[in-house]
């Protein structure tokens, strides 16, 4: 059952406009890395790769944008279009439906950001010891995709404005508020992701340091991921169609 819904969703995700937009988005870090290599490097390559490229561009911007687009598309657009009825009017558990949708969003997001990140990172770090940067951020991106996806899938079940709310969460909460009030970082997927990266990145602290400890990050990821998925399933099993005539 999960497989059927999963494959169906993937087919729907590969639309011309959306794939083009994501492709361009994924290309950006690669281009930036190329520019970096062509120019004069007076900064340490590892430091640039970790702080500027991965933390500054990929985790902060690319990852959440990709996750928000895919996460709200997998279930949100079905609900908006009216095709969700065909999935729900079936003897299939709501948990399986949510799981299938989540997996599809996770796969699409991970492919987008991982390919982009690894390519850009490899270019930036060429000829230098990686200090575990590629590994660390690779794992972090995979896990971050999952938690972001879970969050946005849940939002798209709860509200029809999931996309803009997701964007407000990412750029206002994780962007502005987290910067101003350190405590709010406990509720920030961005910082969980950075925390996980820190686990593998062996570079000294001047190169890269996450604000959240790795263990804290992993635990919170598990909690947030499980809680949002559980809530999404609960809301989906109480799904009500809006008033038409």
């Amino acid at each position: 059952m999960i497989g059927i819904v999963f494959r169906l969703t993937l087919r729907q995700l590969i639309g011309r406009g959306r794939t083009l937009m994501m492709g361009l988005l994924a290309l950006l870090p690669v281009l930036v890395a190329v520019v970096y290599r062509l120019g004069s490097q007076d900064t340490d390559q590892a430091e640039w790769a970790a702080t500027v490229l991965f933390e500054g561009l990929i985790v902060t911007t690319l990852l959440p944008l990709a996750a928000v687009v895919y996460g709200t598309a997998v279930l949100g657009s079905e609900i908006e279009d009216g095709t969700a009825v065909y999935l729900l009017a079936k003897p299939v558990s709501r948990a399986r439906i949510v799981a299938a949708k989540l997996l599809a969003s996770w796969l699409a997001t991970t492919v987008t950001v991982l390919v982009s990140g690894l390519a850009a990172g490899a270019i930036a770090l060429a000829g230098e010891p990686g200090d575990g940067i590629l590994l660390g951020f690779g794992v972090a991106l995979v896990l971050g995709s999952l938690v972001y996806s879970a969050l946005f899938v849940m939002l798209s079940v709860v509200t029809s404005r999931a996309l803009i709310i997701g964007l407000v969460y990412v750029f206002l909460w994780e962007g502005l508020v987290n910067g101003l009030f350190a405590g709010t970082r406990l509720l920030s997927v961005r910082h969980y992701t950075l925390g996980v990266a820190d686990l593998f990145v062996e570079a000294p602290e001047r190169v890269f340091e996450a604000k959240l400890g790795a263990l804290t990050a992993l635990v919170l990821m598990a909690v947030v991921g499980a809680a949002t998925t559980w809530y999404a399933t609960r809301r989906l099993s109480r799904f009500e169609v809006g008033e038409t005539t």
């Binding site: 406009g17 959306r18 937009m21 988005l25 950006l28 930036v32 520019v35 970096y36 062509l38 120019g39 004069s40 900064t43 640039w48 500027v52 490229l53 500054g56 561009l57 902060t60 911007t61 944008l65 928000v68 687009v69 709200t72 598309a73 949100g76 657009s77 029809s160 404005r161 996309l163 803009i164 709310i165 964007l167 407000v168 750029f171 206002l172 962007g175 502005l176």
Partner: protein, 268 residues
């Protein structure tokens, strides 16, 4: 034609479902929050004779920039997309309204709404600062020359954001993607411009600033006659302030033209 702009403004700027209005409204309120905080703090500390100035006028625009971007991203696609989807666009075009007028009217509506968010908090700040001063006349005499830059900055910022937002919304029919695209464009140009400044040769990289939201900061600093912070990209780029203003105006004109062209080509 001007009547039409006014009519469109009320029809689309405010006439949406309640649930859809929540987010723009919430964002609008957030834009005022720092000003409120400043005024409140000022009122509390005035008794202590301290001079608390959390937000300078010229910096305020920078703080609320993301809120303005998110607001535009939420509202612009609604403004444009609804007509396209409902096909009521044919109705508008079949009347004696030229497509140019239609595009301009939409733009005017969006800019006006955004002006509330840009000018409003600034005026609150201005008036609030004045109220905690003992010498109101003196304050007004000293500070009245802040008003032109405030006005210019608010107008410039509103038009710049609205112009880009509306252009993107008119090219991306599906509402959700338009929203994501608007946020994406603004955020990514800022990030990339910043990265390039650090990464590549400054004399070339600084041109990247001119196509990014950093233009707004540069222009506003120039309006206020203030200096950029040390270490900021604007300081490093070392352009004359007017360059930013010109770049901004060019962007506004270009995006408006794009929007008009888009509407002219559109199938009714």
């Amino acid at each position: 034609m001007t009547l039409y702009a006014g009519g469109l403004r009320s029809a689309f700027g405010l006439g949406r479902r309640t649930s859809a209005k929540v987010i723009p409204f919430a964002l609008a309120v957030l834009a005022f929050v720092p000003a409120l905080v400043q005024v409140a703090v000022g009122a509390l500390t005035s008794r202590l004779d301290a001079d608390v100035d959390l937000f300078a006028h010229e910096d305020y625009f920078g703080y609320v920039q993301i809120i303005l971007i998110l607001f535009c991203a939420a509202v612009a696609p609604e403004l444009v997309g609804r007509d396209q989807r409902d096909r009521s666009i044919s109705l508008y075009f079949s009347r004696a309204v030229s497509r140019v007028d239609y595009a301009l009217a939409k733009l005017a509506a969006l800019v006006s709404v955004m002006l509330v968010l840009t000018l409003g908090p600034q005026m609150l700040l201005f008036v609030g600062n004045g109220m905690v001063e003992d010498d109101l006349d003196g304050y007004l005499r000293d500070s009245w020359d802040l008003l032109p830059p405030i006005l210019a900055g608010a107008l410039f910022l509103s038009a710049a954001i609205a112009g880009v937002g509306l252009a993107i919304a008119s090219f991306v029919p599906r509402r959700a993607y338009a929203t994501a695209a608007i946020v994406g464009v603004f955020v990514l140009t800022t990030s990339v411009a910043g990265i390039l400044m650090e990464t590549a040769d400054v004399s070339f990289a600084r041109y990247a600033l001119l196509v990014s939201p950093l233009v707004w900061e540069g222009a506003i600093l120039w309006f206020f006659g203030a200096r950029p912070d040390p270490g900021s990209e604007i300081r490093d780029a070392d352009f004359h302030g007017a360059v930013y203003a010109v770049a901004g105006v060019v962007t506004i004109l270009a995006t408006t033209a794009l929007t008009i062209v888009r509407f002219r080509r559109m199938q009714a």
